[in-house]
Symmetry: C2
Amino acid sequence: MALRYALLGVLSTREMSGYDIKRYFDRAVHFVWNASDSQTYRELRGMERDGLITSRLVHQEAKPNKRLYRMTDAGRAELDAWLISPLETPYRKDPFLLRLFFMARVSPVAAQQILEARHEELRALIAVGEERLETYGDLSKSSRPERLWWQVRLINGMRRMHMAEDEWICELLSELRSSPEEPIDGLLEDGAAI
Amino acid sequence: MALRYALLGVLSTREMSGYDIKRYFDRAVHFVWNASDSQTYRELRGMERDGLITSRLVHQEAKPNKRLYRMTDAGRAELDAWLISPLETPYRKDPFLLRLFFMARVSPVAAQQILEARHEELRALIAVGEERLETYGDLSKSSRPERLWWQVRLINGMRRMHMAEDEWICELLSELRSSPEEPIDGLLEDGAAI
DNA sequence: CGAGACATGTAACCTGTTACATGATTCC
DNA sequence: GGAATCATGTAACAGGTTACATGTCTCG
């Protein structure tokens, strides 16, 4: 259902086409949620069926026709109810962490390479976040300072989480580098205790 | 495909039934991946079809019959190839962060409640992690110290990430509490810049 | 002349969730 | 007597991915 709320949230600003929403997503929402084109279009139809949005067809010359979606009062109510609803279980499925769980199977050198790749990835994510924050700085000069209050804090929070992960990865790397000969054990046979 | 590798990883220690695997998952793998019973059994069948595991039926008195799965050489090769394969895109779908993205729609008081709930959740996760680390401490006294090398570091890493998130949440809370009257803006209409 | 913006979809498939079914044994 | 453990599944549905189809205009 989260996609539905993401779409409602974007549509809360103004009437948009599926294509507009997609662009908005790519620019702004991408780092907390995303969806393929086909899933977005499918979901929009479903939301219209359920009365959360309405649509009208707009004919265009020189461009393909488009369908503009607008949120209904029911949609607005649904979004606002979700925003203050109890948190769903915060259960992460992280393929990277899953990999580390079984890393004892590969050589320390191979493990190092995986960690280094993740380190580079995190560096890149952090850099992107910092760029975004700078752009925001410019924005708040020309406009009201409290524009995008939550968005700015969100990017900042993610930056901090990425930095925490990166520090951890770097420590793991130096542990691996300093003791390349130590034996490293895998799993307990009964999965006991951990 | 990640579930498949998680199952292969667990089966790399010994022959197990679907039920054993489930127990192992709940105890040990749960915090980086999980799956429902029915998905697990379905996936095991698929893995057998694809030659990654073999199974044999074991008849039991007083207990239901069971099917024991064992990894094949092909399965072992598949797992090891995955462990050193390039990282997939690390793209998070986080319903909590998605919520925050649209939080400007609700009152600061309601937002505070959401953040407090998350704070409690994180506190609980951190406590669980610390418990696990203690259990590990006991374990390494009785056994070889390098038992579960990766598992321990993994739990420690997650603890640190949770703590980073919690610090951020707490700062947000104090920002909200200290300026309850400030106007907070929502989204830009064109999703510009952020 | 080719790439990219504009614009919406279908079909097939894979992944994940929920509800249900079955039935003996053991422990409180 | 009721709950938990052991043990494996089916059926239906929801959520998500990938590949493909279509066609014009604009810009470099």
